[in-house]
């Protein structure tokens, strides 16, 4: 199965790098990272990700603005977005079945297993063990 392309947009460069390492070692994903919301719009058009992991609080353009622009662009409008934020609590997400205001939120910090499960759900993939681990 071809690796799914994931675009991680987070102004914490270290978090993006580690997320890339951990997601790619599952063998299921090909990850590209961006630290600026404005640049993420161009990358989304060229990289054509299957899913975008988007931080909310970013200095140049916040996550909701990035999401709105992606949704208004015919090339990127159908790409599912998962918001990854430190601003909400796990409990809030659980009580609202993971969706707040129609958007799917994930609370930081998050384990790779939980993240992979959420990505699989968003992509309509059956949840399962990683195909191959890169050691």
């Amino acid at each position: 199965m071809a690796a799914k392309k994931i675009l991680v947009v987070d102004d914490e460069a270290g978090f993006g790098r580690l997320l890339k390492l951990n997601l790619e070692r599952t063998g299921k994903f090909e990850v590209q990272t961006e630290t600026k919301g404005s640049q993420a719009l161009n990358t989304a058009r060229s990289f054509k990700p299957d899913l975008i992991l988007l931080d909310i609080i970013m200095p140049d353009m916040d996550g909701s603005e990035v999401a709105n622009r992606l949704k208004s662009d015919p090339v990127t409008r159908n790409i599912p977005i998962l918001f990854l934020t430190a601003l909400v609590k796990n409990k809030e997400i659980e009580t609202k079945s993971g969706s707040i205001g129609g958007n799917i939120f994930l609370a930081k910090p998050i384990t790779t297993d939980e993240l992979v499960k959420s990505i699989d759900q968003a992509l309509g993939e059956p949840p399962g063990k990683p195909e191959q681990k890169i050691s």
Binding site: G14, F15, I57, A86, I110
Partner: protein
């Protein structure tokens, strides 16, 4: 990094003004001059056999001087409610003494005088104190004209006396009310600041925690399998990250009670919902739940999700207090006559597990106080409970039961 987009509100309070579009200090001094005049009239023109004229003059001079001293005091003193306590006591004593020394007024006038003070204290509004003066003057005039032959012109001074008294006490009663409103506003501002700070801190701390967790997972996969010690170290590190995260979550819970959405709710339904949410927990822990919920309870004004949080915290504490299983009683009832004023609704949560050491009882509501640190306790649970209840003007009392276990009583006003 933007500090979580937070706006830190100013905690500086608007400085309350007096009336007559002048400062409080000027208002107080202006209101006291008519009182001085009234007392002067009473002392000088109604000479008492108990006081020599020189003593009367001395007392009057003292009173005038007291108002002159107020001119010299710092403006900021007049913003403190404590400052007014001796002032009003001194004025009340002087005014009442002057009235007694005249020996010209009867019981009906004393009653009128006290009625003014009572009305001003109840209404706590300067403008309404004028209404009180008019109302009481009409009442007193009616009684006076019915019982006295009107020939003494000195009787008429009693009416300005009532107005002066009314304005004087009306203003101080309003100060008390304004002071309370300002304190409540300050409390709200304080909570807003705490909420904003917590959101900012949570954001700034959770991001590094997220990096640490991802890093630990990566290292565990890369190197942990080759060395059991490395696995152990990384496991400890991961647990530390989760523990730090739970403290941050607790802090966010602690802060988020600033935004309450108060509506009329059925307390029994809130309790039943909270019990339902923890049903699996009770079953797993072998805790048998008994409910005795009164059916005639009036609704209470509460924020339902926050109150559920209160009951869930209390139920979880009860479960943790009896790790080998036990019993939990939840009961509600009302205190006070049905339909009467001052009806309180009581909710009791009781377990027969471990008691709280007496030395710890006074500290259980302190933030970060816990005896369960080894099992992940953050010490914020009861602190959050207390703060949520404070925001609802509800009371909480925790006591040990005689035969072991703990009884928690919550009291809500309807």
């Amino acid at each position: 990094m933007d500090k979580a987009g937070t706006v830190y509100p100013s905690v500086a309070l608007p400085r309350p003004e007096g009336i007559f579009e002048v400062s409080r200090k000027s208002t107080v001094i202006r209101l006291r001059w008519p009182v001085v005049l009234v007392c002067a009239y009473l002392l000088l023109y109604s000479p008492s056999p108990w006081l020599r004229p020189t003593t009367s003059h001395f007392l009057l001079l003292l009173y005038i001087l007291s108002n002159a001293v107020l001119h010299r005091l710092d403006e900021r003193l007049f913003d403190s409610p404590i400052f007014y306590i001796p002032l009003v006591m001194f004025d009340t004593l002087f005014l009442t003494t002057s009235l007694i020394l005249t020996q010209r007024v009867g019981t009906d006038f004393y009653l009128t005088y006290f009625l003014i003070i009572i009305l001003c204290s109840l209404w706590q509004d300067f403008r309404w104190s004028i209404v009180a003066a008019v109302f009481v003057s009409i009442l007193y005039g009616y009684v006076l004209f019915k019982t006295t032959e009107i020939y003494d012109s000195s009787l008429y001074i009693r009416f300005p006396f009532l107005f002066v008294t009314s304005l004087f006490y009306g203003y101080f009663a309003q100060l008390v009310r304004d002071g309370k409103a300002i304190r409540e506003q300050a409390e709200v501002e304080r909570w807003k600041t705490v909420a904003n700070l917590s959101a900012g801190v949570a954001h700034e701390v959770k991001n590094p925690l997220a990096i640490l967790l991802q890093g630990v997972e990566y290292l565990a996969d890369k190197t942990g399998k080759q060395d059991p010690d490395v696995t152990l170290v990384l496991k400890e590190m991961e647990e530390a990250v989760h523990r730090a995260n739970s403290v941050i979550r607790g802090m966010m819970d602690f802060a988020s009670i600033a935004q309450l959405n108060i509506v009329a709710e059925d307390l029994n339904l809130i309790i039943e919902r909270s019990l339902l949410l923890l049903k699996n927990q009770f079953d797993r822990s072998h805790v048998e739940v008994t409910t005795e919920l009164a059916t005639d309870l009036p609704q209470v004004q509460v924020d339902r999700p926050r109150l559920e949080q209160v009951f869930i915290n209390l139920f979880m504490n009860a479960v943790e207090a009896q790790p080998g299983g036990g019993r939990l009683w939840v009961r509600t009832y009302r205190e006070g006559a049905p339909g009467g004023n001052g009806v309180a609704i009581i909710a009791e949560v009781e377990n027969d597990g471990k008691s709280i050491p007496e030395a710890n009882l006074a500290q259980v509501f302190d933030p970060f106080f816990t005896t369960k640190r080894n099992i992940g306790g953050t010490g914020l649970g009861l602190s959050i409970v207390k703060n949520i209840l404070d925001m609802h003007n509800a009371k909480i009392q925790i006591r040990n039961r005689e035969n072991g276990g703990v009884r928690v009583a919550l009291q809500f006003q309807t």
